[in-house]
Symmetry: C2
Subunit: 253 residues, 2 copies
């Protein structure tokens, strides 16, 4: 029942408090036992610290006895300036893209070897995608991810290739030999288009968002049905939106 570290756990109390939060990083609801296991804490310690989390409101206990992330953490999290500012500046442009396309419109930032979705606007009839706000997908298999990878330090590609990236579909590129020329092409074109790399029958056009220092800080994309991949309006619209968001962030060409 107790975690692996139970004997001689040298973590501070704060680290144990955070370990409990981390238990929810890939789960919507957990029992106390599951929290203890994931946080590698003895059940008694987990019980005491979870009670403090619940008292504070960061975790809530449902009538079913399971624990979930509470609104107190939601309220705190939305105050993160990175997400708040970028989303605030980008939203009108994302809405323009959505009105043009009625497809999925994404705003994403890099998070390690993954891409983190800050915003998604989707029409009812848009192609189904697995991304959602707060979800994390791999850099190498998504349009926004390839854009963020293309403008990252070259060491990141080495790290990614060494991490045995998953080949989701036949088109997913996973090797240095495939990705290196692809990323050069993306940099040269100023944007990425991809078909069937993460989700079957989907097409993505993605472009980089730059801040006032000319650094690429985010990416915007439209994800549509694969049969739209030859429609020249999508890459153009995404490119224009990305430049608009960049300008609103203080970027000058």
């Amino acid at each position: 029942m107790s975690g692996n570290r139970a004997a001689g756990d040298e973590r501070s109390v704060a680290e144990k408090v955070f370990a409990i939060a981390d238990a929810f990083s890939s789960a919507g609801e957990l029992s106390l036992t599951e929290i203890a296991q994931r946080a590698e804490l003895p059940l008694s310690t987990a019980h005491r610290l979870v009670a403090e989390w619940v008292e504070w409101g960061g975790i809530v206990r449902g009538d079913d006895g399971l624990y979930r992330v509470g609104m107190r953490l939601w309220k705190l999290g939305v105050r993160a300036p990175t997400a708040r500012r970028l989303r605030g500046v980008a939203l009108p442009f994302l809405e323009d893209l959505y009105e043009l396309s009625r497809e999925n419109v994404h705003l994403a930032v890099r998070d390690g070897l993954g891409v983190l979705y800050l915003e998604r606007i989707s029409g009812r009839s848009a192609v189904p995608v697995i991304s959602d706000i707060g979800s994390r997908l791999p850099l190498h298999a998504t349009g926004v991810g390839l854009v963020l990878l293309a403008w990252s330090p070259p060491e990141l590609l080495d790290e990614l290739v060494a991490s045995s990236p998953r080949k989701y579909l036949a088109n997913t590129m996973t090797t240095d030999a495939e990705l290196r020329p692809r990323l050069a092409e993306i940099r040269s074109a100023g944007m990425a288009t991809s078909v069937n790399e993460m989700t079957q029958d989907s097409f993505s056009a993605a472009a980089p968002i730059r801040d006032h220092t000319d650094a690429v800080v985010a990416a915007v994309s439209i994800v549509a049905h694969a049969d739209r991949s030859s429609d020249p309006r999508y890459p153009l619209a995404v490119g224009v939106a990305a430049r608009g968001i960049s300008r609103a962030l203080g970027w000058r060409s």
Copy 2:
């Protein structure tokens, strides 16, 4: 420099960890001294615990030496099922309302004597409003707030009136004598319309969202220019959207 509680502070370590997070509940960026003051901790304790927060990624330290909420908390917060599920179900309906009106569209839940905004979609030319995702405004002065108050236990009105609610504008109702008949009227109409109660020149039409138990769990609104207050389409559209969201949550009339 040290907080009021420094002598004989009986809070647990976890409570002190949470007190540091709470320092950011109404501030975007803080110095270490400000965090210590708000958390009522000695500077040395604040320094040590903030370092643990930064190590974890829940708080980040900028080049300017100020501390801000980090993306780790954002990622965790967006997992809160209340916000996630409600937003996911409501978003297509909010987008419909936005396309109809090109005005501000809000989704909100009650948070004590306030209303917490879970989502906002705004056109570029929409009337400016002070609400934003994660922001909190008073129940008695907003359309969504009046709706949530109307379907709350009656004790909440007593509590609100006793809290000396602020009269933002001439139209803002703050007394029991004003609010009680108003809330009865809202319950009878099934929705609330308000003009110039929180923001000058603004009109709000708001309706309740119910879950499968028939409980009012959220509210949706359109906020437009005051000159739209006689446009019969807005209350109708908001009412239809609220019922649509309710049905998607399992409600049956």
